[in-house]
Structures are given as C-alpha cells and as structure tokens.
C-alpha cells in the first residue's frame, strides 16, 4: 500500500538546517493500524505530512498503491489526497462558519458529487458518528469530542484508503479521547489503513503496529 525508502526532509530556517527526517524507510500493507510515538520534534508530523502528500521529501522515494508519487505535480497530489487520503488534526480544523453537516459535505463538494447524493451521505455519516442531532450546529456550539467526530466524518466522507491522524486526542480529555479513537478504529475495521501519531501511551498501545521515532528516524517498529 505504502512504501517509503530513504526519505529525507531538511528544514532551512535562518542559516540553520534541521534534518527532520533522516533516511526513513517504511512499508505499510493494506488494512494495517499503526501508531507513531516519540518525543516532541522527533519528526512524527513531518513524516505524516509526507505520507499525506502535503509535503515533499528532499530525498527518497514514495510509492502509494504501487505508484511513484515522489515527483507528482501539485494538482495530481491534490487529486490523490481527495481520492485516497483522509486527515484528522489535533485542532480539528473545522470551518467555523459552516455547520457540522456542511463541514462533512466539503470533500464531497470538492469532488463534484451531486447535492442530493451529498445530503444523503452526510446524513448517514453524521448518524454513524452520533451527530445526527448536531447537523446544523456550528463548531463553536459543539464540544471538543463532537468537533473531532465531525472532523472524522469529514475525513471518511469519500471513503479514503489511508487515514492519517496527527494527535487526534491531543486536545481532548481521556474519556473523549477514547471515544474518538473508537470512531477512528471503526473506519479502520471498514478496511482503511489507519496511522495515528500520539503522545499518549495508552492510545499508542491500541494500534497493532507501533513505531517509535527519535531525531528523525524510526528507532522501533513492533507489532502486537
């Protein structure tokens, strides 16, 4: 499904260079559930952004579904993000002026799906994530856990093959965090690859395969 080899990412900020990733190799098969843990600044987010085609490596090769996507142009990457990838962020990143339903509808709108079909799918997704009675609420009227579930529904709207979550529970209390993880895991059970970056050992332990990073490298890769 995913094959990274020799991935390097170097940040140059004011004369200083930071090697955020130092030759990362990683293969992920279909249906896997990974967690990535490690100290702050170890390169977890950088790795996730490269996996998500939001960022480009400075060296190395990235195969997604057997296709070399390392050197793809911006438009093609945007299309792949829409068709294959789903993102969940620590700060939810809901559009504040849009209702829960409209936020979930966004990816379908970008994909050019018909309004009637969109409404049907949005209703089902919201119901699936226990948000049916919150459809017309703005993010400011929702709790953190509800916001993150809206974000998860949005990430799953087009049935992605890979779900990338960067500290999805980082902003939630423990109990809510567990609920959100359960929501993500349901998508994984439906067949998607799930990659979760987390600081929380309890959450990290839920994954079947656990990566540990330090100083831009994967230092441990254990399967349960």
């Amino acid at each position: 499904m995913i094959a990274l080899s020799g991935i390097e990412r170097v940040y140059r900020a004011g004369g200083e260079t930071v090697r955020a990733l130092r030759g990362v190799d990683l293969t992920v098969r279909a249906g896997e559930y990974l967690s990535i843990m490690g100290p702050s600044g170890s390169g977890k987010s950088t790795l996730l952004n490269i996996l998500g085609l939001l960022d480009r490596p400075d060296a190395g090769r990235y195969l997604l579904d057997g296709r070399d996507v390392t050197a793809l142009g911006d438009d093609e990457r945007a299309r792949l993000r829409r068709e294959k990838l789903g993102f969940v962020f620590q700060f939810f990143h809901l559009v504040p002026r849009l209702s829960a339903a409209e936020n979930v509808e966004l990816p379908m709108m970008l994909a050019g799906i018909e309004p009637a079909e969109r409404r049907r799918r949005v209703a089902r997704l919201l119901a699936d994530y226990g948000l049916a009675d919150r459809a017309h609420h703005r993010p400011s009227e929702l709790s953190g856990g509800q916001c993150q579930r809206v974000a998860i529904a949005r990430a799953l709207a087009l049935g992605p093959a890979v779900i990338l979550a960067d500290e999805p529970t980082g902003n939630l209390d423990r109990q809510t965090g567990r609920e959100v993880m359960a929501a993500l895991e349901r998508a994984h059970e439906a067949g998607a690859v799930l990659v979760v970056v987390t600081h929380d050992p309890e959450i990290g332990a839920r994954a079947h395969r656990r990566l540990r990073m330090r100083d831009g490298a994967i230092v441990a890769d254990t399967s349960a």
Partner: protein
Amino acid sequence: MRAADTVRFAWGAAAGARARTAFTLLAMAIGVAAVVAVTAIGEGARRYVVAQFGALGTNLVIVLPGRSETAGAMPGVLLGRTPRDLTLEDALAVRASRALRRVAPLVVGAGDVHVGALRREAPVLGSTAELQDIRRMTLARGRFLPAGDPRAASAVCVVGATVAAELFGGRAALGEWLRVGDRRFRVIGVLAPQGTSLGFNTDEAVIVPVAAAQQLFNTEALFRILAEAKSRDLVPQAKADLEEILRERHEGKRDVTVITQDAVLATFDRILGALTLAVGAIAAVSLAVAGILVMNVMLVGVAQRRAEIGLLKALGASAAEIRAAFLVEAALMAAAGGAVGLAIGRLGVWLAAEFFPAIPFGVPAWALVAAPATALATALVFAAAPARRAARLDPVQALSRR
C-alpha cells in the same frame, strides 16, 4: 467543484466576514454611484443643450459675414481682416433659393429705450416678419412686424415681455409709443415670455423693422441672415444655394460662413457626450480606489483564513479551485456593490431631478453597463494577487498553529 458550489461557498465566506464585506461593498457602491450621478449630470447638460437647439428649429441655416472653417468662432476676427459686410440686398437675393422657406435679415444693437421718464438699455433687433416663424416667437398681445417692403423703415416695434412690464408697468403697452435713441416707435405687439435661448433673451429685446434698425445704428451691415430650409433634408441644398448666391453677389469671393443648426447641434452633442464620458471616467477612478480596498480586504481575508485554505488543500482542493473561490468572492462583492451603487446613483439622480426640474437628467445607457462592469473588472484585477497568494499557500504551514 461545481460552479454553483463555488459561488455558494464564496457567498458563505463573504457573508461570514460581515464587516469586511460590508466595507468593500460600500466602497464599490460609492464608486458606481459616483459614475452614475456624474454621467447623469453630463447627460442632463447634453439633453438640455440639444433641447435648446431643438427649440430654435433644426432647419435653421445662419449666414455670418466672413469665412471660417470652424463654424461659430468669430470669423474674420480670427483671420485678422475685416470681411465684406452682408447687406439687406444679400438677404433679399437669397430668397431665390428654392430650398428655403423663409429668410430674415438680422441687425443687432444696443439701444436706450425711453417711455416717458422711464429708461432702459435693451438689445434692439432689426428684422422682418419672417423672424417670428424662424425663431418660433409667440405673441402675448397684438401682432408681429408687418409683412411688406423690408426697405421701408416704418415706425412700429414689438417688445419683449420684460421690456413691456418694466417700461409700461401695469398699463397696456399695445398702441403706446416708445423712443429708441432719437426715433419713436409704436408698440404693435408684445411677445409672450420665451426665456433665454442660446444666450439671447428675447424677453428683454425690442424688435423693429430691419431698415429702421439700420438707420438707428447708422449701418448697412447685417449681423446675420437667418434662413429656414423647407425640410431637414433640404438643409444641405439650402446651404449650398446660400453660398452660391452670395459668392455671385460678392464678385466670386467665398466670404461668408453658413452654419447649419444640425452641424452646430452635432458639435455640441459630440462635445458634451465626450465630456460626459470624461467625467464618468474620472468618477471611475474612485472605483480603482475601491479596488485597492478590495485587495487589502482580500489579503486580510487570506491571512485570517489560512487554516481554512490549508484544510481545503488537505481535502484535495486544487490551486485553481482555491483561486476561483477567492475571485468569485470578490466578484460577488463587486456585483452586490454595483447593484447597490446603481440604486444609490439612480436615487441621487431622481433627487437632483426633483430639485432641478429644468435639467433633463438621465443616466446614459452605457454608464449603466460600464459602471458595474468596471467595478467587477476592478475587483477581479485587484483580487488576483490575494487569490494567487491563497492558492499558493503551503498546506503544512497553513495548517500549523502559530
């Protein structure tokens, strides 16, 4: 993304930033309203002048002494030589043209007009019976100068409404005598008030037979020959006839200028039309100012919506789609501002028409199209840079919390 969705999304974004949108919309509206108001004033002036000419009759053909290429500009004076005078005999001779319906000689001077102890300076016009129809004069009382031999200096006159009122007060002027210089005239007619037409106020004038005026001012020369063509189509023929007849009478010299009302009208029409266009363009500069505002407001919007833009990119929006969303947002604001501006402008024109009913204000059709179109184009031009900035945002940086 479907076009309808892009519009809906952009509309939501504009509505979401109410203060910013209202501000931009207002700036656009003011620009459009300014164009509408200013061009309406210009168009009002043009229509006013055209109507004034129309009152004189568009079949009017005027002969001036002296040759001039630019109709109306004091001929002869510009050329630095005294032209040969037009005479009463010239005026009588041109009656031979079959394209002309009427011909009236015109002598103009200033005279001291006395009635008893009252005295008033007034323009004195010397002409013939034909003047009444050529200049569309109507009488309040009595009759106009009698038809007959124009060489006869009969002692009768027709007075303007103001002259009658001021010199005769409440008394009936008709049948009374007045004195101009050292000559006495009997009032046989009083003109109805006509107002000013092209700088000539007949209300204040005294009209006497042309021969009497020539004696009064001790001159053989005519100020003008006024003629009326039989129809508008015959105006060019009339002009040619006048030039030919007068050339023959003046030993083959082309030393007169023939102005047709149509040509003067067309010139004024053109000048005032161009002027309206120019002031409209100047008013459109305010739209450029609004454009700069659009750019700033959009740049602020892009900065405030960084995370949203990053998210859209993460969700798979292409750079073109993001650019389109911002351009459509600017276009929507311009369109709404244009609509509001048209309404404000037309309201202003309506108010102006209430206060100055004499001027036929009216927004020219081109301004109604050009003003909002300029607003739209300006908005799109000035939104281009912010939209491009949004489209080029790096998604990772846009999504990172700072």
